[in-house]
Amino acid sequence: MSSPSVVQIDPTGGRPPRTTTWAGFALPGVGWLIAFFVVPVYAVMAVAFGSVDPILRTPQPAWNPLAWDFSAMSSLLDRVFGGDLGKVFIRTFSFVFLALAGCIAIGYPVAYFVARKASRSRSMLLALLVLPFWISYLMRMLAWTNLLQQDGYVNQVLQWFQVMDEPRNWLDGDWPTVVIGLVYGYVPFFILPLYSALERIDGRLIEAGRDLGASSFQTFVRITLPLSVPGLMAASVITILPMFGDYYTNSYLTSGSPRTEMVGNQIEFFLRGSSQPQTGASLVLVLMVFLFVLMVYYLRTTMKAQRESER
């Protein structure tokens, strides 16, 4: 923008382009996000670092950061590191990790096939991959509660194939059910970003690999796979983040069993179940700190891509 040759032929005579009008266009949106995103997140901090009315048990938010009281946070951190909440965090991490592994195992081959191999069927497959986006998440989970009933189709099929003798009680706090549910719920969100990354890979690089004598497996391992790593990372981050905050998939599929409780369930419990908003707010902050690295990674790569595309 600021290279001298451009300025010389600029009809405005070298004046920098006025951008205040455009700032005005962005203003309503920015104002909205400040009022309903920045202020609310700050309110979470004010409640977490504030105090609680001793009689009414209502939170007394501390709006001035200098007056913040960290005692509630430190007792919560004791519960997270080594206390009862530690177990919940470990369980959450395990569920998310297993579900991500499932998403990669299913999603990578699918995204790879649709992006690089399917030619005639591509547009149809793409439409089918997008279809779950238009189906309500909870309806997709409702479908699984139908399938996984004691006398449901899953048990019927498994018994017919004689995988099991007795019908299994899937919906009673079984962790595999939660992992299956998470994979089923989130894999569409994983596939699409990965698909677009794989589709952007320059086909000439792969052809060059083949021309130079590499087998198709070698070209995949040495060219396609490394080139897809950024897309794989982005897809993983964008699926992991909502999974960490998920509390409805597990409780829906296990009738709220405490054996599959995740961090989100605890947050919801503190805020809605037992009116301990201060503990809930602190737990939200702890979760956000855990996720901070992932969030920053995604923001940085997105903004870099934005700058490059606008250059």
Binding site: A23, A26, L125, S136, M139, L142, S216, D246, G256, Q306
Partner: protein, 285 residues
């Protein structure tokens, strides 16, 4: 020819996995739709077809159960209002962010992207706290739910529109300016029509996201009269529920798919017309 065949053969197992995935991703939903047509109370096996849970049953069908009604209207009302607010604000914001240069613009751009990576539960809690502690004058329920939905979907609109703006580039507007259009005429007469398909895509995404939202609606719900369809599905599974839930979900599914299909048709028409205009513009330039 041999090359083609061998490549095809190797992709075969990938093709199998892909089609199996597609089947797996959609079959459960189709089964749920089928169960909504059940004549009996079972929500696990199909007995015989009937519309009992849509309108036949006089107490608990979608047509006769008031709570299911209310949930449906709340969901649609929220989604339509959210669409009407988030889309124009988001379009303006995208155009603004694309062109506004300055120190603050980077900050505004980051602020716009953060909601996309924020887990929904953080949204839910933050909005719950702010509406109970700070903006206490606002009536709870549908108003606060709407404010929450708009906040959550605004960034999606901006990202979709910005992608399209980048693809369009600045040459069409510059041509319009050279031909004597003012800045705002160029925007209104050239850029906005070219953004048409992207605006429709945003409307679709906002509608579907709002209809789908459970966490924010649930955190900001103040009782039975402010429940939405996802809340109803969620809370219905614990109580001994009937296929009426499946029927409710199916109705919403059909509404969403119809809306998407309609928007898709309009988009296709706009796009072919847009290409026509673009090629004309190309000739003039």
């Amino acid at each position: 020819m041999r090359l083609f065949r061998s490549r095809h053969g190797r992709a075969k197992w990938l093709a199998t996995i892909t089609w199996l995935y597609v089947l797996w991703s959609l079959l459960p939903v189709l089964i749920a739709v089928r169960i909504s047509l059940n004549s009996g109370k079972s929500r696990s096996t199909f007995q015989s077809p009937s519309f009992r849970w849509y309108w036949g049953d006089t107490t608990s069908s979608v047509w006769h159960d008031d709570t299911l009604h209310t949930a449906m209207w709340n969901t649609l009302k929220l989604a339509v209002l959210c669409m009407l607010i988030a889309t124009p604000v988001g379009v303006a914001m995208a155009i603004g962010l694309q062109r506004w240069r300055g120190k603050l613009s980077t900050g505004a751009n980051t602020l716009m992207l953060v909601p996309i990576v924020t887990p929904e539960i953080v949204f839910g809690v933050a909005l719950f706290i702010v509406f109970t502690q700070v903006y206490t004058g606002l009536p709870g329920g549908i108003t606060t739910q709407l404010l929450g939905h708009v906040t959550f979907t605004l960034s999606f609109v901006v990202v979709i529109i910005r992608g399209r703006l980048t693809a369009i580039g600045s040459q069409y507007e510059e041509a319009a300016r050279d031909l004597g259009a003012s800045k705002f005429q160029a925007l209104r007469l050239v850029l906005l029509p070219m953004l048409g398909p992207a605006i429709f895509a945003s409307l679709m995404v906002v509608f579907a996201t709002s209809v789908d939202d459970f966490v924010i609606s649930s955190f900001l719900s103040t009782g039975a009269s402010t429940e939405t369809v996802p809340i109803k599905i969620y809370s219905g599974a614990r109580a001994g529920s009937t296929p009426a839930l499946n029927a409710l979900a199916t109705v919403m599914l059909v509404v969403t798919l119809l809306a998407v299909a309609l928007a898709g048709l309009v988009m296709r028409r706009m796009r072919s017309q847009g290409d026509h205009d673009a090629s004309l513009a190309g000739l003039t330039v």
